[in-house]
């Protein structure tokens, strides 16, 4: 599922520890994520991790789904410099490449078509139709139903899509059923589930993750309860950004708001049993991080333990015993 790409992304999240002072990037408000790429590429090495999922159609390729991720390179990141082409199944193909310039994608968005040369020397024309675009942000929210290639990054996203509900003459809600097998294979290889998120079909997106990871945890000892806030600013870009942490109990009648600075770790006492927490970080006036969620109160595990094999009425059955385990957190209310 999508966690595969997230895991891969987590693997990429390495601090720049090569001894050199990381290059700072100023937060700016610019009109488009694609054009903003130009503003930062001279001062920091980023690539545009791009994937096209395409359906071969009359000699060309129609974009079924595509995205690019503006990714700041760390010392352990690899790079795919030439377009790779993968025939997933039947007429479904995937192309992927780490582009060093955004220009190709800008032209692709503007013209609705691009020609790419793959590592096997073949040329392929990919076409895409859209009539609108929207920008938004993706916070870290476990309850969100929206597709997000990142599990722990606040992400700015711009999407290009058609306002219609058809794709290649078929209702989108049916297109993914017609190509269920191919799309399952795309998910297995690339972690993008178009069966789970059919609204992504016929769209292209640009993701810009804020390379900031925050961790908040609750602790209890000696009759005291406190919350620890830790933050990793991967490229030391956001210095003294302002943080706001809001914590409340289950009923919401007890709550607390604290406003530490990003630069240091921070602990604060909680005089009630916390249930919900929201963290917002701003750099200047710009939001660069937002997460919200509930503290874990218990974990329910269902264990299937293999016991034996059995033959009955001509059928062989693997048998397991089931066990349910509940791990509960302490509360002091």
């Amino acid at each position: 599922m999508r966690n595969r790409l997230r895991d891969y992304t987590l693997y990429l999240m390495k601090r720049n520890d090569n001894g050199k002072k990381p290059i700072k990037r100023a937060a700016k408000n610019v009109p488009s994520l694609l054009t903003r790429g130009k503003a930062v590429k001279e001062s920091a090495r980023s690539v545009y991790r791009t994937i096209f999922v395409c359906l071969k159609d009359r000699g060309g390729f129609k974009l079924v789904y595509g995205h690019t991720i503006e990714w700041r390179m760390g010392p352990l990141d690899y790079e795919v410099k030439i377009w790779r082409k993968h025939n997933v199944d039947a007429d479904m193909f995937v192309f992927f490449c780490d582009l060093t310039s955004i220009d190709v994608l800008s032209a692709f968005i503007d013209k609705g078509e691009t020609e790419i040369t793959c590592s096997d020397g073949t040329k392929s024309t990919v076409s895409f139709r859209h009539d609108t675009n929207e920008k938004s942000t993706l916070g870290i929210n476990s309850l969100s139903q929206e597709y997000n290639p990142f599990m722990s990054y606040f992400t700015e996203v711009e999407r290009w899509f058609s306002t219609g509900r058809d794709f290649l003459g078929v209702p989108i809600s049916e297109f993914h059923l017609l190509h269920k097998k191919e799309l399952e294979l795309v998910e297995r290889s690339y972690g993008i589930s178009l069966n789970e998120h059919p609204h992504l079909i016929g769209t292209f997106a640009s993701f810009l993750p804020t390379r900031l990871r925050a961790d908040i945890s609750r602790h209890e000892a000696s009759g005291k309860s406190w919350i620890e806030f830790r933050c990793v600013d991967e490229f030391d870009e956001y210095g003294n950004a302002s943080v706001e942490i809001y914590v409340k109990n289950k009923n919401g009648d007890n709550n607390i708001t604290v406003k530490p600075r990003l630069a240091s770790d921070y602990n604060f006492l909680i005089p009630f049993d916390p249930d919900f927490c929201r963290v917002e970080i701003r750099y200047g006036n710009k939001p660069i991080y937002r997460s919200e969620g509930y503290f874990i109160r218990g974990i329910a595990l269902t264990l299937n333990v293999q016991e034996s094999k059995l033959s009955i009425a001509g059928e062989t059955v693997d048998r397991t015993s089931q066990h349910e385990i509940m791990i509960k957190a302490k509360t002091h209310e």
Binding site: T132, E134, S136, Q145, E146, R159, F161, T163, R165, P171, I172, S173, H176, L177, K180, K181, N195, E196, H197, P198, H199, I201, T302, N304, E307, L310, I312, A313, G314, E315, T316, V317, D318, R319, T320, S321, Q322, E324
Partner: protein
């Protein structure tokens, strides 16, 4: 609501994808029978399911093996079958078997299951109420997602084009349990 959110909501509602709402014979896998059996087993094994109900007017001895292979994977379950004993096929040998012969054959298989402790219990009810629709569900608390209607008898599901549909409507699930109780009341355990 912005255009993207509207798109996600509308297409999501229209698509309503569920791997267990399907016509098995149209599935792309070569081994349809095992593929669908595995999907059903995975769905039921993902929860603590102690009771499973099978309603099928044509349920016969051959179906006991199928039910065992799908649901016998987990210990301590109780299977309850409601049937009209309309099955006329016993191992495809003849079409003139009496219902009592069918009942005897099933009693033998159930005794074997009990001897091997495959299930906590395996109950078969012959009802006098007319059954038309085939149903498969767990009445256990917390298992409301495990309600299905099936378009054919289980032994034909992988031989003819028919459907499995998950019942998501709470009122219908309640009716299915009511019907199950009615069938039992108007019948007897064989």
């Amino acid at each position: 609501m912005n255009e993207w959110d509207k798109r996600r909501r509308e297409i999501g509602e229209d698509a309503d994808f569920d791997p267990l709402t399907t016509i098995p014979m149209l599935e792309f896998d070569n081994d349809v029978l095992n593929s669908i059996k595995l999907r059903i087993r995975k769905e039921f094994d993902s929860k603590i399911v102690k009771n499973i109900v099978v309603i099928d007017p044509y349920f016969g001895p051959a179906d006991i093996g199928l039910i065992t292979s799908v649901f016998g994977s987990v210990l301590s379950r109780t299977i309850t079958v409601v049937t009209n004993l309309e099955s006329v096929e016993i191992d495809d040998e003849s079409d003139d078997q009496s219902k009592e012969d069918i009942a005897n054959k099933m009693r033998t298989l159930v005794a074997e299951l009990k001897g091997k402790q495959v299930f906590n219990d395996f109950l078969i009810f012959k009802t006098n109420a007319g059954i038309h629709d085939r149903m498969l569900f767990s009445p256990d608390i917390g298992c409301s997602s495990l309600f299905f209607v099936v378009g054919a008898s289980y032994n034909m599901l992988f031989k003819k084009y028919s459907y499995i549909v998950r019942v998501t409507n709470a009122s219908m699930r309640y009716k299915m349990i009511q019907l199950f109780e009615l069938y039992k009341k108007q019948g007897y355990q064989i």
